[in-house]
């Protein structure tokens, strides 16, 4: 059974102008294990440069497809590839499901690559700045979505990405086809890696009633043993 009519492509939140500011400095540092060490002038300058270069190189783009669940609450056929208990738990009670993909574009990859050749420290900070910016892009989109949902008396779940919990990373390729990731220049390798690198795919549920806050904890994260934040004595903040 097909649910072609249940899918609507939306691009209404304009996230193309989202950029890093000095306020993102602490987030950028957190990715590289910062825990209060003294930052000298040299490093401060490098961080400022990394922010400027990332902002110049970034060309944020986002695409999303909104699916409507069936009358009985079951998912449209197109979404049955999303397997595992966790995503079902996450979306329980939702009447609509949004699949999104966002990318900073190939320019950021190229800028990081140039720094890799030139200067390992800047490369590290640029990489971190890119991660921070793509999250900011997704946050901006989600915030707009949340505002509109609130007006309509709807409620949103948090973002849930392939690879979280027991939702396999391997769904990434199918995910990319569904959201037509190529339209934003986002590709996925046979190893399920997104290229450009600074990209995010995620699922957001929309419900007609308030959702019980489901705080993700380190214990149910599949990165539990190898998390770079935990390794550095901090948490990812989710």
């Amino acid at each position: 059974m097909r649910d072609a009519v249940s899918a609507v492509r939306i691009t209404e939140e304009d996230i193309s102008s989202v950029r890093l500011t000095q306020a993102d400095r602490s987030e950028i540092l957190r990715y590289i294990g910062y825990s209060g060490q003294k930052i000298d002038e040299n490093l401060a300058q490098r961080i400022a440069d990394a922010i400027a270069k990332t902002n110049r190189a970034a060309d944020p783009k986002l695409t999303a497809v909104l699916y409507t669940c069936r009358e009985d609450g079951s998912w449209p056929e197109a979404l049955t590839f999303l397997t595992g208990d966790d995503i079902h738990r996450h979306l329980a009670g939702c009447s609509r499901i949004l699949l999104m993909g966002a990318t900073l574009g190939a320019g950021v990859d190229r800028a990081i690559h140039i720094e890799e050749v030139r200067d390992a420290i800047s490369a590290l900070i640029m990489d971190s700045a890119g991660s921070t910016l793509i999250e900011a892009v997704c946050d901006s989109f989600e915030a707009g979505l949340r505002r509109r949902a609130a007006k309509e008396g709807k409620y949103l779940t948090t973002r849930f990405s392939p690879g979280y919990g027991d939702l396999p990373l391997a769904v990434q390729n199918r995910f990319g086809e569904l959201i037509e990731a190529r339209r934003i220049g986002l590709t996925i390798t046979p190893e399920h890696i997104m290229i450009p690198r600074k990209s995010v795919t995620a699922i957001i549920g929309i419900a007609d009633h308030p959702l019980r806050a489901r705080k993700r904890t380190c214990a149910d994260c599949n990165m539990h043993d190898s998390c770079r934040f935990r390794k550095n004595g901090v948490v990812c903040g989710e």
């Binding site: 939306i10 294990g33 040299n42 046979p190």
Partner: protein, 823 residues
């Protein structure tokens, strides 16, 4: 608009979806199982007025079809047959026979270095699709919706080398005039024209109104006819539906009338109604649809010359018309360190030199990799591939071997220059077919089998001969740069004038571009910079528009900037004013001429403060801990006055690094500071290494380690940090980069005699590749242990995979290396 316009078809995807194609389902697979549905859509388009229909083969390349239960041959054969049946059946109805295009879409993944697909793999995939299409009887090849120039080049070469069909190429651009990967309109046009495409154009992404200005720019860069296949406007952000209806679509397409179009149609969101409107409502005098096969390409072509010309990488165009600097630094001649870097495949070093040239303001980079003991062809391909991922400047491939040049041109994303041919028939015979095939511009040296003519006339005669041979081969005159050859003025004083005279004639009488290596003029003289500058300026006045110089030498670049003001090229002196804004002119001498430190520019910033501050009671340990590069180096030099190299390394540098490691573990410092200290120590290590190499008394290497990120994985930041840190402990690192197949790891271990291998993987999905690589190393290189690291790894998993060591971070890898090499 030209007299004859071919009407193409419209969108296929949305039509198929309306007929039952599920979201995410492959249209080729669907079409194979439902040929009648596809045939019916084709027939609707022909009935609406399409003269060329695109077979349902857009994604029928082997990589996209992997795991879909249908192979490329089957998918293509079935889809072309379906389209041909539609054309035949419709011909019986309307009497008009539509041609069938083999539709070839992009591979669906990004090519290296951004992605993991190699140029060669992409070519192989397209070659299968092209052969299948040709066998199935397609009338032409349409390569469309590409966003990566190198990807499109692979497809075009595959089409031209495996079929005799006409090849049309359309790429997808953003309103900025660039594709997602940054390819510029002009770069696309020049590259495709050079490769021998029959038509170029734009499809998808935008509507006709947005594409119009892009098409106008495209037409300036090529004399090929254009193809326009827009979407039905832009999608409505609220609903995702395309906003332009069929009538308005046709209205907007009318505005393309002043452009040299060969074909137009529709892409996403268009259906037979749009095509009907195009075919019947376009109101342009003289338009009539033509049956395919009259070769309209040639007709439209006749007498047109592109308004703009140049060479390009995919993201950067060097437009001819004015002085353009060719940087000469990527060349091992006379540079020990560069030669060694080539032999060690230390490509980062070469990339750093190229980056410095780009920053210094070069417009084109000469690339020469000829070194005794090196495989020039393999090295050239390796270096060109690496450079085009890092610098955006167009390259000049510099080799005397046509084979080497062909290999480089093949993998180059853009339209490069080639250095060089001469008036020697044997060389011309070898080079011209290669230049023609890949569409490169070329440098011609004014010499022949008998050597360099000692007078201007002899050189001009050689230039004439080169021009004649090159244009006979079908390469336009505008693509020739003549090198009138600089001789050393201290040895043959009258030759400077001969060079300049020849240059003037080549420029004025022959109307050709000219390039010239400048600095050779002053060889053997003191204060060379004065001669170099003076000669450069005189040569530019005589018509030199492509000086080959070291762009890092400020006075030479200043001379070029000044010349551009006086020649009028720099309108309103804007570039000049910008260049010198904030520059403090000193009365004293500028940096010396041509001093060849060989070292790339150090990253600026407070870390690179002057050595003079190194005194003042700072210990070498403090300097390392604080990450002060030049201080560390200076202090090490001071220590060497009273200590041996061994003592400085083991008694000072290593303990300092150990202290840094300790501070890192205690979280007194964090990662950037750890790297910074490592870099400071490197400055001292490098100096000591050079001293030892100078003495020829062995090496300081503590052992050789091969390191890489495994096949399929492209995360290399962590791997790079491990490399930097290990290097600082004196280990010789052989860095194979990222996405490295196990065979290369094994080969590198054997070639380098490495005693340890380090593997990195950041994704759970690439751990199997890591395990394979460990197994291969253990099987083929017994006794060589493997350490692994990466975000998703745990000690347990590492053990399970058979790794000898697990390293949680860069610091831990030092302990492993120490342990292994102490044994």
């Amino acid at each position: 608009m030209s007299e004859k316009i071919i009407i193409l078809d419209g969108g296929m995807g949305t039509m198929l979806q309306a007929e039952g194609l599920a979201p995410g389902e492959h249209p080729e697979v669907f079409g194979f199982h439902h040929p009648d549905v596809v045939k019916n859509i084709h027939r609707k388009y022909i009935d609406a007025g399409s003269s060329v229909i695109y077979a349902n083969t857009f994604g029928a390349n082997p990589r996209k079809l992997a795991g879909q239960g249908i192979d490329t041959d089957t998918a293509v054969r079935s889809a072309v047959r379906t389209a041909k049946e539609a054309a035949r059946e419709e011909q019986e109805v309307c009497g008009r026979r539509a041609a069938v295009a083999l539709d070839v879409g992009p591979i669906g993944e990004l090519l290296a270095p951004l992605g993991t697909v190699s140029f060669e793999e992409a070519y192989e995939a397209y070659a299968r699709q092209m052969k299948a299409g040709s066998r199935a009887g397609a009338d032409l090849v349409v390569i469309e919706t590409f966003t990566d120039l190198l990807d499109a080049k692979a497809a075009v070469l595959a089409a031209k080398e495996n079929t005799d069909l006409p090849v049309w190429v359309t790429m997808t651009f953003e309103e900025s005039g660039r594709t997602f990967t940054g390819t510029k309109l002009g770069a696309f046009a020049m590259t495709m024209e050079g490769l021998g495409a029959d038509a170029v154009g734009i499809n998808c992404s935008l509507g006709p109104a947005e594409i119009l200005p892009l098409a106008e720019e495209l037409a300036q860069w090529t004399n090929l006819p254009l193809i326009i296949k827009p979407n039905a406007g832009l999608p409505d952000p609220e609903t995702g539906k395309y906003r332009l209806d069929a009538a308005h679509f046709a209205q907007q397409m009318q505005k393309f009338e002043s452009l040299p179009l060969i074909a137009m149609g529709g892409c996403c969101g268009t259906d037979p109604e749009y095509i009907r409107n195009l075919a019947h409502n376009l109101d342009i005098d003289g338009i009539r649809r033509v049956a395919f096969g009259e070769n309209p390409t040639e007709e439209i072509n006749r007498g047109r010359r592109p308004a703009r010309r140049g060479i390009c990488s995919s993201t950067n165009i060097c437009e001819f018309g004015g002085v353009r600097v060719i940087g000469e630094r990527v060349n091992p001649t006379g540079k020990k360190k560069f030669q060694q870097a080539l032999l060690d495949h230390n490509i980062d070093y070469i990339c750093q030199i190229a980056l410095a040239e780009e920053e210094a303001g070069a417009d084109i980079l000469d690339v020469n990799v000829g070194v005794p003991g090196g495989d020039e062809k393999a090295l050239m391909v390796e270096v060109v591939k690496a450079l085009q991922g890092v610098v955006s400047l167009p390259l000049q491939i510099d080799s005397g071997d046509a084979d080497v040049v062909a290999a480089a041109l093949r993998v180059y994303a853009g339209r490069p220059l080639v250095n060089s041919v001469s008036a020697d028939d044997a060389r011309l015979d070898a080079f011209l077919p290669v230049l023609k095939k890949y569409g490169a511009a070329v440098v011609g040296l004014c010499l022949n089998e008998d050597g360099i003519p000692q007078n201007a006339q002899g050189r001009v005669d050689n230039a004439k001969y080169i021009c004649q041979r090159v244009t006979q081969a079908g390469i336009p005159k505008e693509d020739i740069l003549i090198d009138c050859l600089t001789l050393t003025v201290s040895a043959q004083q009258d030759q400077a004038k001969a060079t300049l005279d020849a240059l003037q004639t080549v420029h004025e009488k022959l109307g050709l571009h000219a390039c010239l290596g400048v600095s050779n003029i002053s060889f053997g003289l003191p204060a060379r910079s004065h001669i170099n500058e003076n000669f450069l300026v005189q040569a530019m006045r005589c018509g030199l528009d492509f000086p080959i110089i070291n762009p890092n030498i400020l006075p030479l670049m200043d001379a070029v900037a000044s010349y551009k003001v006086l020649s009028g090229e720099d309108r309103n002196c804007e570039a000049y004013i910008a260049r010198f804004a904030g520059r403090q002119e000193t009365a004293g001498a500028k940096p010396a001429n041509g001093t060849d430190s060989g070292a790339p520019a150090a990253p600026s910033g407070p870390a690179a403060v002057s050595a003079s501050s190194a005194s003042g009671g700072l210990s070498i340990e403090d300097a390392v801990v604080k990450g002060l590069k030049s201080e560390t180096r200076t202090l090490a030099e001071k220590l060497l006055e009273t200590h041996t190299e061994e003592e400085v390394i083991n008694g000072y540098l290593i303990p300092a690094l150990d202290k840094v490691g300790d501070l890192y573990e205690k979280q007194v410092i964090f990662l950037p500071q750890l790297i910074s200290s490592a870099n400071a120590a490197t400055a001292a290590f490098d100096m000591i290494k050079e001293r030892i190499a100078g003495k020829g008394t062995g090496s300081v290497s503590g052992g050789t380690i091969v390191i890489c990120t495994v096949k399929g994985d492209i995360h290399d930041i962590g791997k790079n940090i491990v490399k930097v840190i290990l290097e600082n402990y004196g280990f010789k690192m052989v860095d194979l980069g990222r996405d490295v197949p196990k065979e290369r790891v094994v080969q590198a271990v054997k070639d380098s005699g490495a005693g340890l291998v380090g593997l990195s993987a950041l994704m759970t999905t690439t751990l199997p590749a890591m395990e394979d690589t460990i197994r291969a190393v253990h099987a083929e290189c017994p006794g060589v242990p493997v350490f692994v690291g990466g975000a998703v790894l745990t000690p347990e998993y590492a053990r399970k995979m058979g790794a000898d060591f697990y390293t949680a971070d860069a610091r831990a890898s030092v302990e492993v290396a120490k342990k292994v090499f102490r044994q």
